[in-house]
């Protein structure tokens, strides 16, 4: 499928060949030239070998999702050529540096059928002839891509100079290599036709991943402690926060395991420091006992749960949205919690900030779900959103003077009891994981135990009133009414924008950002008037669908579910809308 004003370039090679650097340089240079990009990375769970790719979708308006097919494939290795050849669309092009590449009969057939142009560039030889090193062949390939994109070379040269600013002796040779690629004879290849916008200063646009945005949101919200144990796709929160900790002064610590991460998080939050913890599904499994602990001790906790496919180790470096159930149902016992699902830069930034307000005000655990597709993909935005005011739900100084120990877990209508920090008041208390009275003293008596239990559960009702309803996008009178959460929003909205030019099908999409406790008033109306209600999720069981059905009785007969580690590509949504009735 070809879409007007969308062009897709994919750089592919072995892990360790520099595919990621090529992608990053390209993405920034393309953006600076007046275009919108979305960067999507695929890579294996190993350090060298296998196949990896960095795909850049280019458009003349904001985009947040990837195409399945590309217009230009640049390949550095045989394995990646084999892996990605069939993602090249009809009349597409391949440039590669694979010495003596011969095609298998299947590959040959695909190339002929789809009229794909393939050009070999002896990039390593060229780099050495020019007096450079083998690795500079990557710069030659960059230049060649730039030629196909038909963009002015100055834009890319500027980026190269910036990148090698600290190694001035290699700038000249890299610029020579860039020129060599840019001038290389690629006659016969279809050139990109890009619609460059000149109405604003694209240089100021930001390119960042969801994990960057979560980190920045945390910094802005006054998070002063971060604990984590590395696990893809959450790890880059740890590495980013560590990389800026001299600037921020944040305490950033890698801890020995997720059990400790969660319990240290509980300890630091209990004392009053805004503390973030982050992990993926397997690590979150280890944290769930601590999540339950926060339920009864009424300690705020915020955990980022960056999803990848499971069970077990699953597909460590691929995407998924299959951990909604553990976010909602994990941890023994019954207590109030909040589950929020981010989907793009703005959402990651704001949801992280809001999560702390909710956690502190309601004294509950808040789990922020993301997916590899959000955590590690590269989004373009022109600015960061406005910060949410910090709300801590702590007693004021005057209130503190009157506080008594039995206030701390006092039975209230809202379920929310007064909270103050250890050390701030001589009304001391016991934050007790055994059932307790209002000062934390242990009790096993039926009546007070039940009252305390109900008090904690009442918080859910209070919280629900504060949480926003899901948003609806698109047509008021849709032929198809989607319901989803997480990164699917990005793909559906992009698909809707594209479809507007090609089809008169009317589409609506309802997006759940605040997933639990779940608001359903708006959904019930939406479902009632829907001609065709479709659940769309990046998992196999339709976990949000089950949650909605359990609360509303509405069943989803139509489901578009994907669980192969890949995000929804726009073509898939468009074919679904156009073909399937």
């Amino acid at each position: 499928m070809y879409f007007k004003n969308r062009y897709v370039v994919k750089a592919a090679g072995e892990s360790g060949q520099g595919v990621n650097s090529i992608g990053e340089i390209l993405a920034k240079a393309i953006k600076n030239n007046g275009l919108y990009i979305f960067g999507y990375r695929e890579y294996p769970s190993l350090i060298k070998g296998g196949y990896a790719s960095y795909q850049i979708d280019i458009a003349d308006q904001e985009i947040k999702s990837s195409s399945k097919e590309c217009d230009l494939l640049m390949c550095l290795s045989r394995v990646s050529f084999q892996m990605y050849l069939e993602t090249v669309r009809e009349n597409g092009s391949v440039i590669h540096s694979i010495y003596k590449l011969t095609l298998s009969p299947e590959e040959q057939a695909y190339v002929e059928k789809n009229k794909i142009h393939i050009i070999y560039i002896p990039a390593q030889d060229l780099a050495i002839e020019l007096g450079g090193k083998r690795i500079m062949s990557n710069t030659i390939m960059l230049g060649a891509i730039w030629q196909v994109l038909g963009l002015e070379i100055i834009g890319l040269e500027a980026k190269i100079k910036e990148i090698f600013a600290k190694k001035p002796d290699v700038i000249d040779i890299n610029l020579k290599c860039l020129q060599a690629g840019y001038k290389y004879d690629l006659s016969g290849l279809t050139r990109a036709v890009l619609k460059i916008s000149e109405h604003k200063n694209f240089k100021d646009d930001l390119l960042m991943t969801g994990n960057h945005s979560i980190s920045l949101g945390a910094i802005a919200a006054g998070v002063r402690v971060f604990y984590a144990y590395p696990m893809t796709p959450s790890s880059s929160i740890l590495s980013y926060l560590a990389s800026v900790y001299h600037e921020t002064g944040m305490l950033v610590k890698q801890i020995e395991d997720e059990i400790s991460v969660a319990n240290m998080g509980v300890g630091s939050m209990f004392m009053g420091a805004r503390t973030l913890i982050a992990t993926s599904g397997g690590g979150f499994d280890l944290m769930t006992e601590a999540v339950s602990l926060t339920g009864i001790t009424e300690t705020p906790l915020v955990c980022i749960l960056a999803q990848r496919p499971g069970p077990g180790t699953g597909l460590p470096t691929w995407t998924s949205a299959s951990d909604l159930n553990i976010a909602v149902y994990s941890g023994h016992g019954e207590y109030t919690r909040c589950v929020v699902a981010a989907h793009d830069i703005e959402s990651c930034y704001l949801v992280t900030q809001h999560a702390f307000n909710i956690a502190e005000k309601y004294q509950i655990p808040v789990i922020v779900l993301t997916e590899k597709q959000i955590a590690e993909s590269i989004f373009q935005v022109d600015h960061m959103p406005k910060d949410i005011p910090i709300e801590r739900g702590l007693l004021s100084d005057e209130e503190l003077e009157k506080a008594v120990s039995a206030d701390r877990f006092k039975i209230t209508e809202s379920g929310i009891s007064p909270r103050w920090l250890p050390g701030s008041c001589d009304a001391t208390f016991d934050a007790n994981s055994d059932e307790h009275l209002s000062d934390g003293s242990l009790t096993e008596d039926a009546i007070p135990a039940r009252q305390m239990y109900e008090k904690r559960i009442r918080k859910e009702e209070s919280l629900l009133k504060e949480l926003p309803e899901p948003e609806i996008y698109g047509s008021d009178n849709p032929d198809i009414s989607f319901v989803g959460w997480g990164s699917v929003k990005n793909s559906v909205i992009d698909a809707m924008n594209i479809l507007a030019d090609y089809s008169d099908k009317k589409i609506a999409y309802m997006h759940y950002e605040y997933v639990y406790p779940i608001r359903t008033e708006k959904f019930i109306k939406y479902a009632k008037t829907a001609k065709k209600l479709v659940l769309i999720e990046n998992n196999a069981l339709g976990q949000l669908g089950s949650l909605i059905s359990s609360k509303t009785g509405v069943l989803f007969k139509n489901r578009l579910l994907k669980y192969d580690g890949r995000p929804f590509f726009i073509e898939e949504i468009i074919s679904y809308i156009q073909d399937k009735e």
Binding site: M250, M384, S424, D426, S441
Partner: protein, 298 residues
């Protein structure tokens, strides 16, 4: 932290660390003595109750969480150490003490002990070593003597036992002490020394358990313990000497500070990016401007 409601700088008393809740430990349980000694040590060190956080594991010791004044956190079985480490990292001004049994500490949560020692977090950790799982009614723990018949091992424990003090001394610990639940005075003095230490203070209490440890009761310990400070030539800065003396747990059991590294630097002071920051993390909650960080993304 300054307590906003403290009426004056009055000297703390035993009463400040009292609670009206009734004790639920067995008659003659070693926990009574430990509890009293702790209160004495806190008073002797003039630590106000509102500046004390006692963190309890789940076990018989943990049932004391609401029987003492000051702030308490009664968390999960085996997880008290990371919880307490997190607390002191956020607020280094408060005195953080953690208590755990031999089951929770050396079974369920033994990894946490190792890493808290590596990190040298500034807490006092008290190991209630009663050689069994008390609260679950007398199963074997990692410190139960081999061949001992317990309710989970009617023909005797088949694994080797773990010597807590030796284990901890074999790591880069900075403070290792031992005391005995039958000697309140010695425990109180040992706790004071532990509270003075800057870093992870490990205090093993040889604790009698009248209900489930008939093999080594109070009297058994009484006959064997001796105060290390009575040894003229004992050098507590010598780890090898400490390891040698800690080894004997059968004939003559040394109590007191077995080892201390006086140059110990706690974890919170080792943060390379916080050298010039005088506040603690808990005091730093406010909006931070991220605009300076954005140039990297352009």
């Amino acid at each position: 932290m300054t307590c906003k409601s403290c009426s004056s700088n009055k000297t703390p008393t035993m009463k400040d660390f009292q609670s009206n809740n009734l004790f639920t430990w067995c008659t003659n349980c070693g926990n009574y003595g430990i509890h009293t000694a702790l209160r004495r040590a806190l008073v002797a060190k003039k630590i106000p109750a509102c500046q004390t956080l006692n963190c309890f594991d789940i076990g018989c010791n943990g049932n004391g969480s609401d029987k003492i004044g000051g702030y308490s956190f009664h968390g999960l079985h085996g997880r008290v150490i990371p919880m307490a480490c997190g607390a002191t990292m956020a607020n280094s001004k408060m005195t953080v003490i953690a208590f755990g049994g031999d089951g929770g500490t050396l079974g369920e949560g033994v990894g946490h002990l190792v890493h808290a020692i590596r990190g040298n977090y500034n807490i006092t950790f008290v190991l209630h070593n009663n050689l069994n799982y008390g609260l679950t009614k007398g199963q074997a723990s990692p410190t139960t003597l081999k061949n001992m018949k317990m309710n989970s091992s009617p023909d005797g424990v088949t694994s080797e036992l773990l010597h807590p003090a030796n284990f901890v001394l074999s790591l880069e610990s900075t403070f290792v002490a031992r005391s005995f639940s039958g000697n309140v005075k010695h425990m109180a003095k040992t706790f004071e020394q532990a509270l003075d230490h800057r870093g992870f203070s490990f205090v093993e209490i040889l604790q009698s358990c009248p209900s489930y440890n008939k093999e080594t009761p109070h009297e058994w310990y009484m006959d064997r313990v001796f105060d290390i400070s009575n040894l003229a030539d004992y050098d507590s800065s010598n780890r090898q000497q400490a390891l040698a003396i800690a080894q004997d747990q059968e004939e003559k059991i040394a109590i007191g500070v077995l080892f201390q590294d006086k140059k110990s630097v706690p974890q919170i002071e080792k943060q390379p990016n916080r050298k010039d920051i005088v506040t603690d993390a808990y005091e730093e909650t406010r909006h931070y401007d991220i605009s300076k960080l954005l140039s990297k993304f352009r």
